[in-house]
Amino acid sequence: MGEKKSELAIPASYQLFPLGDAAIVVKFGDNIGYDVHTKVRAFAASLEAHPFPGFVELVPAFTTVTVYYNPWVVSHKGHFDPYQSVIDLLLPVLTLTHNQEELPSRLIEIPVCYGGKLGPDLEFVAEHNQLSPEEVVKLHTAAEYLVFMIGFAPGFPYMGGMDKRISAPRKATPRPAVPQGSVGIAGTQTGVYPLQTPGGWQLIGRSPLLLFRPFQELPSLLRAGDKVRFVSISEEEYLYTTKLAHESSY
């Protein structure tokens, strides 16, 4: 790898295509998986460490990183082709990423009070899978989850790693208001609602942690690449922690 322009020798493990006239998508694969996710994370981290003039922001997803740019700035006020300019600016970062070691992950524990009023669909999920509610909780807390991306709502994690034995269909009629902190299952996915929103997930519990903290420097508790574990807590612990979380956040 000693020769000049070595990036040209590296087989392209990504695709580049536009999303409109002010964003470019870097795609690292066609399927959701750990290898693709690792590339997504590495590239996002490199670009954020070395932003180019005219870089606006980036959005990592399952297989892609979308990079928003200002065409006026990257083209030097119209002297160059904006799309080609942004590709030229990204290539060194892509090369850098190629040689990067795997990034460390944080492990975040999310306390959840399962069942009862806070998890009204725990019984349904149990019956649907011919398990007891205790077994559902055991399987839900046993797995280690990977946050692939944040989207849909502020701080909402798209996670992989749920045990298929506790999967459940969405509710036929979505609830008009799912409370903030609700932990749900939809298909083979599990997630936590950061805000009170309408939603069709089966709710198995509720967490006192705030996933969206708009007045903190890092407003999302979780970020892409984090590992997550759910920890079962009692209703007393839930109430106590809820109080503390709200006091420290605002």
Binding site: V56, T66, Y83, I150
Partner: protein
């Protein structure tokens, strides 16, 4: 120095150019529906282009000025009047203490922008004053303006405060006799033809649907708000059922859910989505789309990415020329 909201209107919010840098955390950009109009309103009163303004739809709010204030109105024409006298848009207007600004019947467009010299003295959330209604953050208490709100103003730029002493005190307001050259800002059409580029999933459309997209008229339905404009027309179909992996979407993304009626995502769009992104309205035409309301018909015209970016650059150049022109004007006041 403040503005008093004497009547709330349907939905008036504080918006700056947007909350950038947090989409990776699922936090939407928000900001104005018509970015050109917001930037122009700010330029006319000597503010930085991205500063916070009031965005409103009809029926608009009634706003009392506690002090002499320099303002500009851009975007939709909602028949603005001060002390009952119609006030011209797209120019600086000096409003006298205690005067009341009201809006009447919408004549053209949907979203109006009111910039005040000095903008608003409100706390930023995550680097922006844009109102994010669903999360309840930004702007004025994270919500739309309500009757009784008092909005504190920031410090007006120095050049404009001297202007305040040079105009007659008898009138409730004094408009500038000039406006930026009309070739420099968008002129909206009743039935706009919106230019668009192909989206990442364009090729999933059937060949018939590709034809419909670039030829059929689509009506903006009543389900048209800051999040997105739902369209109604010849349904668009995918050649095969597409199971898509969620990825980023942006302002102007045209998505097609399974029933086939397209949705164009607007200022309050989610950060990511899973529907096919068949096309993307070019940035330069988002101002036209935003100002076209429910019931109106639109068509899409395909352009290349290069053409789209040329139009983008031309729009930036126009705003740059406008900015320079206004600076020249200030030399003579």
């Amino acid at each position: 120095m403040s503005l008093h909201i004497e009547k709330s209107g349907l939905q008036a919010t504080i918006q700056d150019l947007g909350r950038f840098g947090h989409q990776k955390e699922g936090i939407i950009v928000s900001g104005p529906m018509d970015r050109v109009a917001l930037r122009m309103a700010n330029l006319l009163v000597g503010n930085p282009e991205h500063a916070a303004v009031i965005e409103t739809v009809a029926p608009g709010p009634a706003i009392r000025f506690q002090k002499d204030t320099l303002i500009a109105l851009t975007g939709a024409d909602l028949s603005p009047a001060i002390a009952g006298v119609p006030v011209k848009m797209n120019r600086p207007v000096l409003v006298r203490q205690h005067a009341l600004l009201e809006f009447g019947a919408p004549r053209a467009g949907v979203y109006t922008y009111l910039a005040v010299a000095g903008s608003f003295d409100l706390p930023q959330v995550l680097g922006s004053l844009a109102t994010y209604l669903r999360a309840g953050i930004g702007g004025f208490g994270g919500r739309a303006l309500q009757t009784g709100d008092v909005l504190p103003l920031g410090q007006a730029p120095a050049g404009f405060t001297s202007l305040l002493r040079t105009v007659p005190e008898t009138a409730a307001f004094t408009p500038a006799t000039w406006t930026p050259d009309h070739s420099l800002f968008p002129v909206h059409q009743e039935q706009p033809k919106l230019r668009a580029v192909r989206g990442p999933e364009y090729d999933l459309l059937t060949s018939n649907s590709k034809g419909y997209l670039w030829s059929e008229k689509y009506q903006i339905t009543r389900q048209a708000d800051r999040m997105g404009y739902h369209l109604y027309g010849t349904p668009l179909a995918m050649a095969a059922p597409a199971e898509l992996i969620s990825s980023a979407v942006t302002f102007g993304t045209i998505q097609v859910p399974s029933e086939g009626n397209p949705i164009v995502l607007m200022a309050d769009h989610q950060t990511t989505g899973g529907y096919p992104r068949i096309a993307q309205v070019i940035t330069a035409d988002l101002t036209h789309l935003a100002q076209t309301g429910p019931g109106k018909l639109i068509t899409f015209e395909e352009v290349t990415l290069q053409e789209a970016q040329q139009h983008y650059l031309q729009q930036e150049l126009n705003l740059e020329i406008m900015k320079k022109g206004i600076e020249l004007k200030r030399l003579f006041t």
